[in-house]
Symmetry: C2
Subunit: 695 residues, 2 copies
C-alpha cells in the first residue's frame, strides 16, 4: 500500500472519528437540563427562525448552484464541443455539487446544535454556575467545529481517492466557496440588519435594555447570531480549509509528477493530524481555577497547536517526509498564532487601542470613528508583514526541492496555509461558542433567569467577543496564504491546459498584469460597499416595521402582560432582505473576474488575483479589527470606564459599535470568501481564458 492510500484511509477514519465525537458532544449537550418553559418557548422561536432562513437561503443557493453546475458541465475545464471530455466535465460538476452539499450539511448540523445549546447554556448558568454553562456553550460550538472539519476532510479525501484529478479538487473547492460566498454574505446581512435595527429602536430611541422581549426585532437578532456566526462562519472556514487542501494537492500532484515523489500523502497526513489535535484540544477544554472563560478558550487553542506540532514532527520522522515541508507547515502555524495575538492587542479592552478609543469617545462620536479607523489601519501592519514573511520563508524552504521551478516554492506556501488551518477544528469551536453564549445571554434576559445567571452569561459572551477577534485574524491570514498558493494553482492549471510552460510568473511591469492588479484591488472595496449598503437598506426596512408594531400593537411599549410583538414579521424582513441583497454582491465579483479574464487573458488574471489578495487582506483586517475594537470600547465603557453607561462617551461608543457591526460581521469576514471564490473561478476557467481573450 502506498503512503497516499494509507493516509487516504487514515483521513477517512479520522473524519469518522470526528463525526462520532460530534455525536457524543451533541448527546452530552442535549443531556444538560433545560427546565424553564418560557426559555424553551423563546428558544423555539429562534430555532424556527434560523431554520426558516436556512431553508430559504439554501433554496436560493440551490438555484444558483444548479445554474452554475450546468455552465460548468458545458464549459469546464474545456468547452464540451471543443476538446472537452463529457466525463471530465461531469466529474467536475459532481465534485462541485458535493462541495456545496457537504458544506450545507455542516451548516445544518451547526444550526441544529447551536439553537439547542443556547437554551442549555442559559439554564446551566442559572442552575449550575459558570463551569457547566461554559461547557454547554463550548461543546455546542465544538459540534459545529467537528462537523465542518470532518466533512471537509472527508470530502476532499473522497474526491481525491475517486478521481485523482486536481481539477476535480478545485471543483469541489469551488462548490464549497460558492456556498460560503452566499452563506457568509447572506448571514452577515441578516445578522447585522437585525442587530442594528433592534439596537437603534430599542436602546437608542426607547431606552429599553438589550434583549428586551418587547422589542419585535429581538428574536431576529438572536436568529442572526446563529445564521451569521454559526452557519455563515462555518461555511467560510469550511471553504478556507477545503481551498487550502485543494491548492496544496494541486501543487503536490504537479510537483510529484515532476519529482517522482508522492507529496499528496503529506497533505492528507497533516490534515488528519490537525483534526486529531483539535479533537484532543476540544476534549481538554475546561475552565481553570480562575473561572476565566477567555483563558480556557485560549489555552485549549495553544494546546491544540502544540499537539499538532509534535504529532506532525513524529509523522514526518516515521514516514521520512521532507523536513522542509514540515518546516513550512510549522512556520504557517507559528505566524498564525502571532497574528492572532496582534489582533488580540488591537481589540482587547485591557490594551491601549481600546482604551484610547474609549477616551476619544468623550470628545464625541467623530473621534470614536476616527480613532477606531486609525487603529484599524495600524492593525494591518503586523498581519500583512507576518503573511509576507511566512510566505517568503515557506517558499524559500521548499524551493530547493525543485530549483528553477516556482511550483515547489508555491507548494511550500500552500503547506504554510495548511499549517495555519490545521487547528481549524478548534478555531470553529471557539467561534461558534460566541453566538451560543450571546444567545444564552438573550434567553436569560428574556426568560428572567435572574441576575446571577445574567452575570455569568455576560462574562461568557464577552470572552466570545475577544476570542472572535483572534480567530478572525487567524482565518483572514490563512485565507491570504491559501490564495497566494491558489495563484500557483492557477499557473499550474494554465500550463497544464496549454500543454507547455506558457506562464512562469506574473510580471508587475507587464501592462496586462498591472491592469488586472488595479481592477482586482478595487473589487473587495466595492464588494464590501455593496454588502454594507445592503445592510443599510434592509435595516431601514426593519426599523420601519418595528416602529409600525410599537404604534399599532396596543400595550406593547408599556409591556402589558400577554402582549407579544410579531417577531416573525421582523424575521421575514431580515430573511427576504438578506437574500435579495446578497445576490448582486456575489455575482458582481464573479462577473468582473470573468470579464477581466476574457479581456486581458491569463496575465491580467494573475495581476487581478494579486491585487485582489492585497487589497482584500488589507480591508478584511482593517474592518474586522476596527469593528472588534469599537465593540469592546463600548463594552469597556459599559463596564464603568470613561463615564460609564449613559454618559456622552457611551453614546459615542454606541455609534462606533453600530458602524463596526457590519464592518466586522458582514463585510470584513465576507471578503475572505470573495477572494477565494474569485481565485477558484480563475483557476477553473484558466483554459478558457487561455483560448479566448481580447488581448
Amino acid at each position: 500500500m502506498s503512503n497516499l492510500d494509507l493516509f487516504l484511509i487514515i483521513s477517512i477514519l479520522v473524519s469518522a472519528l470526528a463525526f462520532c465525537f460530534a455525536a457524543w458532544l451533541y448527546r452530552w449537550v442535549k443531556a444538560q437540563p433545560s427546565s424553564n418553559e418560557r426559555v424553551e418557548e423563546i428558544g423555539s422561536y429562534i430555532r424556527k427562525g434560523a431554520k426558516t432562513f436556512l431553508r430559504k437561503e439554501y433554496l436560493v443557493l440551490a438555484k444558483f448552484c444548479g445554474a452554475a453546475a450546468i455552465l460548468i458541465f458545458i464549459f469546464l475545464p474545456a468547452p464540451i464541443w471543443k476538446g472537452g471530455s463529457i466525463l471530465q466535465n461531469l466529474t467536475i460538476v459532481i465534485a462541485y455539487l458535493c462541495g456545496t452539499i457537504f458544506s450545507a450539511f455542516a451548516g445544518k448540523i451547526g444550526i441544529a446544535v447551536a439553537t439547542m445549546a443556547n437554551i442549555k447554556t442559559a439554564e446551566s448558568a442559572r442552575s449550575g454556575g459558570i463551569r457547566p454553562s461554559f461547557l454547554s456553550a463550548f461543546r455546542g460550538g465544538a459540534v459545529m467545529g467537528m462537523a465542518v472539519v470532518g466533512s471537509s476532510l472527508l470530502g476532499v479525501t473522497l474526491v481525491m481517492a475517486i478521481t485523482h484529478d486536481s481539477t476535480a479538487l478545485l471543483g469541489f473547492s469551488f462548490g464549497a466557496s460558492s456556498l460560503a460566498l452566499f452563506a457568509k454574505a447572506g448571514g452577515g446581512i441578516f445578522t447585522k440588519t437585525a442587530d442594528i435595527s433592534a439596537d437603534l429602536v430599542g436602546k437608542v430611541e426607547l431606552g429599553i435594555p438589550e434583549d428586551d422581549p418587547r422589542n419585535p426585532a429581538v428574536i431576529a437578532d438572536n436568529v442572526g447570531d446563529n445564521v451569521g456566526d454559526v452557519a455563515g462562519m462555518g461555511a467560510d472556514l469550511f471553504d478556507s480549509n477545503v481551498a487550502s487542501m485543494a491548492s496544496a494537492l494541486v501543487m503536490a500532484i504537479a510537483l510529484g509528477n515532476k519529482m517522482g515523489v508522492d507529496y499528496s500523502a503529506m497533505v492528507f497526513c497533516y490534515a488528519a493530524l490537525g483534526l486529531l489535535s483539535s479533537i484532543f484540544g476540544v476534549m481538554a477544554a475546561r475552565m481553570g481555577k480562575k473561572d476565566d472563560p477567555t483563558m480556557a478558550l485560549n489555552m485549549s487553542t495553544y494546546l491544540t497547536t502544540g499537539i499538532f506540532a509534535v504529532l506532525t514532527a513524529g509523522a514526518t520522522y516515521i514516514f521520512r517526509f521532507d523536513w522542509r515541508i514540515w518546516g513550512a507547515t510549522a512556520i504557517g502555524l507559528l505566524v498564525g498564532v502571532i497574528i492572532g495575538i496582534t489582533s488580540d492587542y488591537f481589540t482587547n479592552d485591557d490594551k491601549k487601542p481600546v482604551r484610547n478609543v474609549a477616551k476619544a469617545s468623550e470628545s464625541g462620536p467623530a473621534f470614536t470613528i476616527l480613532s477606531g479607523i486609525s487603529y484599524g489601519f495600524l492593525s494591518v501592519l503586523p498581519s500583512m508583514v507576518g503573511i509576507g514573511i511566512s510566505a517568503m520563508i515557506s517558499y524559500n524552504l521548499c524551493a530547493s526541492i525543485s530549483p528553477e521551478d516556482p511550483i515547489a516554492g508555491m507548494f511550500g506556501i500552500s503547506m504554510a496555509a495548511v499549517g495555519m488551518l490545521s487547528i481549524v477544528g478548534m478555531i470553529i469551536s471557539n467561534d461558534a461558542y460566541g453566538p451560543i453564549a450571546d444567545n444564552a445571554r438573550g434567553l436569560v434576559e428574556m426568560g428572567d433567569l435572574g441576575d446571577e445567571a445574567l452575570k455569568i452569561t455576560d462574562s461568557l459572551d464577552s470572552a466570545g467577543n475577544t476570542v472572535k477577534a483572534v480567530t478572525k485574524g487567524f482565518a483572514i491570514a490563512a485565507a491570504g496564504l491559501t490564495i497566494i498558493s491558489l495563484l500557483g494553482a492557477f499557473m499550474s492549471e494554465v500550463n497544464e491546459a496549454a500543454g507547455s510552460v506558457v506562464l512562469n510568473g506574473f510580471d508587475i511591469i507587464n501592462p496586462l498584469v498591472f491592469f488586472g492588479m488595479m481592477v482586482g484591488a478595487a473589487i473587495p472595496a466595492v464588494f464590501s460597499a455593496m454588502l454594507m449598503l445592503g445592510v443599510d437598506r434592509n435595516a431601514q426596512r426593519m426599523v420601519a416595521e418595528i416602529h409600525r408594531q410599537f404604534r399599532e400593537i396596543k400595550g406593547l411599549k408599556e409591556g402589558k402582560p400577554g402582549v407579544v410583538p410579531e417577531y416573525d414579521k421582523c424575521i421575514d424582513i431580515a430573511t427576504d432582505g438578506a437574500l435579495k441583497e446578497l445576490i448582486p454582491a456575489g455575482f458582481f465579483s464573479i462577473i468582473v473576474t470573468i470579464a477581466v479574464g476574457f479581456i486581458g487573458g491569463v496575465n491580467a488574471i494573475g495581476g487581478y488575483l494579486a491585487g485582489n489578495i492585497v487589497s482584500g487582506l488589507l480591508l478584511a483586517l482593517f474592518m474586522s479589527n476596527s469593528g472588534g475594537l469599537w465593540d469592546n470600547a463600548k463594552k469597556y465603557i459599559e463596564a464603568g470606564g470613561n463615564g460609564g453607561k449613559g454618559s456622552d462617551a457611551h453614546k459615542s461608543a454606541v455609534i462606533g459599535d453600530t458602524v463596526g457591526d457590519p464592518f466586522k460581521d458582514t463585510a470584513g469576514p465576507s471578503i475572505n470568501t470573495q477572494i477565494t471564490v474569485v481565485s477558484l473561478v480563475a483557476s477553473l476557467m484558466a483554459s478558457l481564458f487561455l483560448s479566448f481573450s481580447l488581448f
Copy 2:
C-alpha cells in the same frame, strides 16, 4: 541646434512667461479695493499666522533636508568610498537641495498672494458683486498655479540642461517630494486640527456660527486653509509634476540611448505647451451669464484641455515626433478628465450618493458614516479601472517603439502621466481658489460685510468644494501613473547600476516580490493612521485651550465689545502640534522602504512599490471621495434638505463631516506624496539595495 536644446530654451522662456503672468496677476489682485479696516486687521492676523507657520515648518524641513543632503552626499548614487565619484554625489546633493528650494519658494509666493487675495475677494463681494469677487479669488489662486508650474518646469529644465544626468533629475524630484511630504502632512494636520476644534467647541458645544470672531480657533482655522490647501497642496502638485517629468525623462534617456532618437525633447515640448495652455485657460476664465462659479472653473479647465490637445498635435506634426507617444499623452489626459467627472459624481450634491447619505443621516450618525464609507469604497472602481486601462493602452501604444524591451512601454505610461498633469497649472489655480474663497467668507462674517456679501462668498466657497473633489481625483490618478512609471525608472536605474540587465520585471510569484508587496500595501494605511491620530491628539490639545479661554477671558462668550480671544495661542498649538506629529509619519515610510530594500533587495522593492501604489491609490481615492461626500451632504442639509439646519439629520451630517475632514484634507491627499517619496527613495538607493541585501 538639436530639438532638445530648442525645447530646453523654449521651456525656460515659457517658465519666464509664467512668472511674468503671475506677477501681472499679483498686481491685478493687489489693485483691487480693500477698504474695511476690521477686515484688514483680521486678514493681517491670518497672514501673520500663515507666515509664522511656514517659517517654523521650513526651519524643521531645513534641518531634515540638511541631514538628508549629507547622507545623499555620502551614499548616493554610490557610496563615496566605494566607486562613488564625489562630483556625481555632489551634483545629486545640489539637485536635491534645488528641488526643496524651488518648491518652498513657490509655496511662499502662494501664501503671500492667498493671504492678500482673501481680503480683496471679501471686499469685492461687498462692493462689486459676484463677478469681480470671483476674479479676485481665482486670479489669486492662479498666481500660485503659475508659480508652481513655472518653477517646476524651470527647475527640471535647468537640471537637465546642466547635468544631462537622469539620477540628478531623480535627486531634484526627491527634493521636491521630501518637501511635499512634510508640507502636505504638516499643513494637513494644522488645518484639520484648527477646523475640527473650532467646529467642535463653536458649532456643536456653544452653537455659535462658523467663523464667529469670539471663537479663539477661528483665525487658526483660516490660517489652516492657507497652509494646508495653498502651501501644502501646491507642494504636492509641484512634486507630482516634477516626478512625472523626471520619470519620463529617465526613461526617455534610457530609450533614446538605445534607439538613437532624442525623446527628451518631446517631454519638454509637451510640458511647455501644457503650461502655455494653462496660461490661456487662466486668462480666459470668467463668469458667464449664469453667474455660476462652478461652471466658470470647469469651463476653463476643459478649455485648457482642448488647447493642450491641439497644440501638442500641432507640435507633433511640425517636429515629426512619434504619434504613438502623443497618443499616450492624449489617453492620459482623457482618462484624467473621466476620473475627474466620476469623482464629481460621488461628491456632487446633485447626485445620488450625496442625496442618499443625507437621507441616511436621518436614521442617525452611524448610518451617515456607514453609507459614506460605502460610497467612498464604490468610488474607487472607475478610477482604478481608468488608471489600469490608461496604463495598459499607453504601454501598448509605445511598446512597439522598441519591442522586447519594457522600457518603451513604461515610457508610454510616463507620458500618459505627463499628459494627465499637463494642465496642472489650471488645476492648482482652481484648487488654490478654494481656500481664498473660504477665507473670504470668514472675513465677510468676521468683518460684518453684510448678508449680500455673505451669500456671494458662500456661493464661491461651495464652488471651491465641488471643484476640489475633481482636481483631487485628477491629482491622485496622475500620481498613480507617475509612480507606475517610476517603477520603470527604478528598474532602469538598477540595470544601469549593475551594468547589465539584472532586472527585467517583477514577478508576483517570486516570494521576495510578494513579501515586498504585502509590506508596501500596509504602509499607506499605517501612514494615514499616524496622521489622523496626530490630528486627533492635536485637536484635543486645542479644544482644551479653547475651553480655557472661554472660561478665563471674561465677557468673551457673551461677545462683550472690545474683548478679543487670544488667537495666537491657538495658532501656536496648531503649529507646534503639526510639526511634532508629522515627523514620525514622514520618517516611518522612508525607514520601512530602506528596511525592505536591505532585507529583500531590489525584487522586494519592486513588489513593495507595486503594493504601495495599489493600496495607496485605493485608500487615497476612498478617503478623498468619502470626505468630500460628507462635506457636501452636510452642506446639502444646511441648504434645507432632509430637515435642514438643526435637525437630527444635520447633527449626524456634522459628525460625518468631522470624520471626513482629516480623511479628505490630511490623510487622503498626503498618501500621494507618501507614494512618490517612497518610489524616489527606492530609485535613488537602487544601487545600494543591489549591493547590500540580506536575501
